[in-house]
């Protein structure tokens, strides 16, 4: 019998941040006597990189080198409140709080520099490399380090900032379901190419092509980490994993990683990503969080590709070889649908 190729498509959007709002994030920023900055949060880094993104957002807003900025987080004695790391809210909510805190700290930094250079603060700019100078007169400059030292020991001025970002809690209407679900949405469209063995029902993803719109890739490599890892998890959800293989019967639930199936290193799929950036007006530098949504389009795209390959409607997850084989048998054989979009 035969191996059939299939191609499937899906596209989605995703709400960024806790759905009904009411999920505040706070940030504190302060300078050391020699112009290094600490960003103090309560966010949790699960691997998504909130420490790294937070550091970049603070450095950009302050106008200082990123090497001079460090995030310290998740000590309830020192960090201000944050709702938590979930719902793709870290970048959006905490990012906005960091920008506000860093903006307040920057204002005082420029005021301190203005006093040193005897000019007005609005005339000053930062060059991002540790210097503050008069707009249009780079030679009239002072280093961030000298400014911080002067502020600390001569001016008696603190270079610090606070920031909070809160999307007000939205009610939900009991009769119409009216609500304000968040303020910005990420988007994705994805095409799966796969093969189906019509003798065993085995599905093997061959290629993923995707386009993810993430507002702004605040750190391209961290975004790629999410999109590659997320798409892998999407393949895993679509074809492999479940805590109840015979749901809703509870028997045979896996209790170890050997029996909780996930694609292995040998199943790693070539995934070509296009990143689109339409900045969300209320997001930090326009950046939306790509973390949660990147797996979502993969599941239906795989199901649609399996139908394209052999004509079996896969409407229950995971799409195991057994379900595909039973579908092929019920149709009296494979029913390839022909290449879409040809």
């Amino acid at each position: 019998m035969a191996i059939h190729h299939g191609r499937g498509f899906a596209c989605i959007n995703y709400p960024i941040g806790m759905n009904l709002g009411g999920d505040p994030s706070q940030a504190l920023v302060h300078s050391t006597p020699d112009g290094k900055f600490k960003v103090t949060l309560s966010s949790i880094d699960l691997g998504q990189g909130i420490k790294s993104v937070g550091r970049q957002l603070a450095a950009e807003t302050l106008g200082v080198p990123v090497e001079d900025v460090f995030v310290d987080t998740a000590d309830s004695d020192t960090g201000p409140h944050d709702m938590g790391s979930f719902a793709s809210r870290g970048t959006h909510r905490m990012g906005n709080a960091i920008i506000r805190a860093a903006t307040e700290a920057r204002a005082q930094l420029l005021e301190a520099a203005a006093e040193e250079l005897e000019v007005d603060a609005p005339d000053l700019v930062t060059d991002g490399r540790g210097n503050i100078h008069v707009k249009g007169a780079p030679s009239r400059s002072v280093t961030v380090e000298a400014t911080a030292t002067a502020a600390q020991f001569n001016q008696g001025r603190t270079l610090a900032g606070r920031g909070i970002f809160l999307v007000p809690l939205s009610e939900v209407d009991s009769d119409t379901g009216e609500m304000t679900p968040v303020s910005s949405f990420a988007h994705a469209a994805l095409i799966i190419d796969l093969t189906v063995d019509d003798e065993t029902g085995e599905v093997e993803v061959q290629h993923i092509n995707s386009a993810y719109e993430v507002g702004r890739a605040l750190n391209p490599r961290l975004v790629e980490q999410q999109l590659i890892g997320g798409a892998w998890m999407g393949v895993s959800h679509a074809l492999y994993e479940t805590t109840e293989p015979y749901y809703p019967d509870r028997s045979h639930g896996p209790i170890d990683f050997n029996h909780y199936l996930q694609p292995g290193p040998g199943d790693a799929v070539p995934h070509h990503i296009s990143v689109l950036e339409r900045p969300a007006p209320d997001a930090p530098f326009g950046g939306k969080g790509p973390g949660e949504m990147c797996a979502n389009p993969v599941l239906p795209a795989i199901a649609n590709a399996v139908f394209n390959a052999v004509g079996v409607e896969c409407d229950s997850l995971p799409i195991t070889p057994e379900k595909v084989l039973r579908g092929i048998r019920a149709n009296g054989g494979a029913r390839p649908q022909g290449r879409p979009g040809a």
């Binding site: 029902g201 896996p254 050997n258 199936l261 040998g266 199943d267 057994e322 084989l325």
Partner: protein, 263 residues
Amino acid sequence: MLEVETYPTVGEAANAMDDQARFLGGGTLIMNRVNYGDRRFNRIVRTTDASLSEIRAEGDRLEVGAGVTMASIMASRDLEFLSSAARAVGGPAIRNMASVGGNLMAPHPYGDMAVALLALDAVVRMVRGEELSLEDFLARRNGVVRSLLIRRPQGDEFRFRKVSRVKPKGVSVMSMAAHLTRSAGRLSGVRIAYGAMAPTPVRVRAVENALEGVSLDHAGIAAALSAATEGLDPPDDPIASGWYRREVAPVHLRRLLLGEDAR
């Protein structure tokens, strides 16, 4: 509390065994149970007897110590015919630990090396020298094994294939081994074994009988394929259902016998 007793020779270790003790091979089975607080045993018995890790020729057979690991098999030129089965047992770390003797005791769906040895009609030599067929040993699965006696197959007579869902390493949907001996160009005295299709690795007599005297081609093996799961009741588990195993066994048996590449 749990006690550990170490003996210099496997004989002394065997004497110390009782139903509250477990014999420690590579640890991949027993230590898993220890970590999860299995209360069916409170003593671990082990030996530092180096002879258990030896591979020696004995007449026209090879004696493989029960302590020989999967990695040692893959590294051994004499046992090259077993390397595909050894590679099927866990990743590199597990293969440095999992022993041949341990593999004979592995619960469903593990035991791929035992499947290969079953098809090679290996003989089990117990610690006090008593010998029995691997098939008989698997029926009782107790006592301390000293070594296995294996007759090297000729040419490409021996075939092994593991079907799993995860690449490159996953737990068995099923594994199959075939020792395709011939006489006068026809199959004769063939041995077929399956893994993960029954409570333990199992010889499949119905298929062996259907292959007696046939030529190794589509026509010749047709009867064997239709008898692929005769007498077997493959289990449901998180990896696959009994229905699925029964339905695809003939496909994988055909691919094994005719050497079709496993996609």
